[in-house]
Subunit: 269 residues, 3 copies
């Protein structure tokens, strides 16, 4: 593997500087619960955010956006239509897009939609182990999903999903795993408080889209997004008294985290 952990840590630092220099504009079609924290996470990081999620606007905007996030958390009928419109436009324009298949496998409407979206070739798919297993199995007729699935147990499914989409798949958990079907990298940063606030994972999907906008090596930019985000979470947790203050500190940390800190704390393997 040419992309060693050390090399990827270097790329992470330079990608963070690129994001802040270029302020990529990320179009987010995301759920009502996390839409505010997602926009604020992008702004804190140094990127830009636009929640353009209605039919008739989502497509045109996806051709000019730097990146696109499609998150299936609370998919109204207008959003579902907007997602398909935006993804079609993004594909044609070459805009990188991230699919976050929230609760896919457990709920029917989004599971059907996720099947269609996966066929359109997401640049990155990001989910927890259960979601990745469900998405990977969807094409094969569906398979059981267990919310307690471990990250490592989802790795074969993640690999085959990446081969199928031609993109990158990231599995979130205590240790995050990223694969492009060939290489595999693990990131051991983060903090349990990320699971005690809503949007901990959803905002990361938007951050992945911001990073994907600054470099064509999307395996590297996905690793970079996770590393920056989870190192920021460690900084935030060190200053937080509970989940409320953690959410506030997380935004401050996304704005403050720098290359030196990432080099010092990043745990890639």
């Amino acid at each position: 593997m040419t992309r060693t952990p050390d090399h990827l840590l270097d790329l992470t630092c330079s990608a963070l500087e690129e994001v802040r220099a270029r302020t990529p504009l990320v179009q987010c079609i995301t759920n009502s619960v996390v839409v505010n924290v997602t926009a604020n996470s992008l702004l804190a990081l140094g990127a830009s955010a636009a929640m353009v999620d209605i039919p008739g606007e989502a497509g045109p905007f996806a051709t000019v956006a730097s990146g696109l996030l499609v998150n299936l958390g609370t998919p109204t009928s207008e959003q579902r239509e907007a997602m398909l419109e935006a993804v079609a436009a993004a594909s044609e324009a070459g805009t990188p897009w991230v699919l976050d298949p929230v609760a896919v496998g457990a709920l029917p409407v989004r599971t059907a939609l996720a099947g269609r979206l996966v066929d359109l070739g997401p640049t990155v798919v990001r989910g927890n182990a259960s979601e990745i297993l469900a998405v990977a199995g969807a094409g094969a007729g569906g398979r059981g999903v267990d919310a307690s699935d471990g990250v490592e147990s989802a790795l074969p499914a993640a690999r085959s999903l990446a081969e199928r989409t031609g993109g990158v798949v990231a599995v979130s958990g205590p240790v995050d795993v990223v694969t492009d079907g060939r290489d595999v990298i693990r990131i051991a940063n983060g903090h349990p408080l990320l699971t005690r606030i809503t949007g901990g994972g959803c905002a990361l999907g938007a951050v992945m889209a911001a990073f994907a906008a600054v470099d064509d090596d999307r395996f590297a930019t996905t690793v970079a997004a996770i590393t920056v985000y989870t190192v920021a979470a460690e900084l935030a947790a060190a200053r937080a008294a509970g989940p409320g203050s953690f959410g506030v500190e997380m935004l401050d940390a996304l704005a403050a985290v720098d290359a030196d800190t990432i080099r010092r704390l990043g745990m890639l393997s």
Copy 2:
């Protein structure tokens, strides 16, 4: 009355421990303003949250959720359909559900919907005095609602509403009142800052659904939810400099509040 204030304070403490031990999954169909703080309040407390609020998913999910919140704050047409679907499924599956009739009486679409929902027998109805008066009067052809209605003046309506639904009714105010049509308990905890942030009451509805999931005595679990929530508000207010920091401290306090503090500060009568 067998359920004395002292006994209910004991039940409150054990119910809090049960919530944290079992992490009940609360399905929320709620308004766009408070959806984030509602999810974060549940997570901070130690419960789990899922905002499954579209037709085709709301029903199936209500059969597996531990509890359901139906909040009428910003009821889009898809949400209204999802609410009826979820409540039908919850009723059949025995999932406890909380109705929060936000601004019912003053606005026509939600008032009509609330009438239908009340007929389906909510486990708990939670509102301010004006909302409870409006909901209680809906079946009798509607009655005037005054935003300045006092909690005590709504007690007869609350009692008759509880008799009609066969459930529990909670009236929020400086002193909260809970009744099952027979017994009445007052909880004198809380802080005026709860009225200076949005979602102060709405998130409590979700917390009631979490508590309802851990014990079949819903009079007791409703008292428990209010007591835990309003004692947490007192802890938060003591550390807050204004409404912004109060919102943050409230989440930290929901995570930190424990049985000893509740026993010391709880003011049930």
Copy 3:
């Protein structure tokens, strides 16, 4: 010009006291990203908020609300219908209303809607330079919009827009400009952190509606809203460590800011 900066600063202080004394109820039809922070900003300031944004309710409510905000950030089809219904009712009832044409010019659905809304005579139009240029040009067949347009370069368009609507136009930027087509006032308060959180501008639109409710001189109330809001931003920035804590401090500052501070820090010219 009879309304000198000194006189307007006096009016700002008295308008703030009026808002807190009367707690005007502001109906907000606004985007999903900022709906929470908008409600919290109004509550922190001392006003009241109600997000009544569905057809069948938006109209009736606009006749009893003290003010109305129409923000085009994420305009679903139901919201678009509700906006037209609410504006018609507000116009008939004499309820002041603020139009915030988010991203108009760049996106087709909202641009068409903004054209219709402008013809209905908004009491105040609030936007950045690009948005004001787009809205002002819409009646003339559209014109190019550049996100880097400066506030001063938009002043002629703002003047002509104000003449057309018969209302007030406010252009946001490092220095805010307000005009009624005749007089022009500049407010040099604020802080760059306002651009690092989402809703920094959107919540200001709601605050303008709250101030418009307490005095018929809407040029003065718009200046007042901007001055109070941007002075509060300076207080918040002085205590913030980053964008997350700035958002929290902003709400605390909106609750705490008083006439003395505004008189001391307000930079009107």
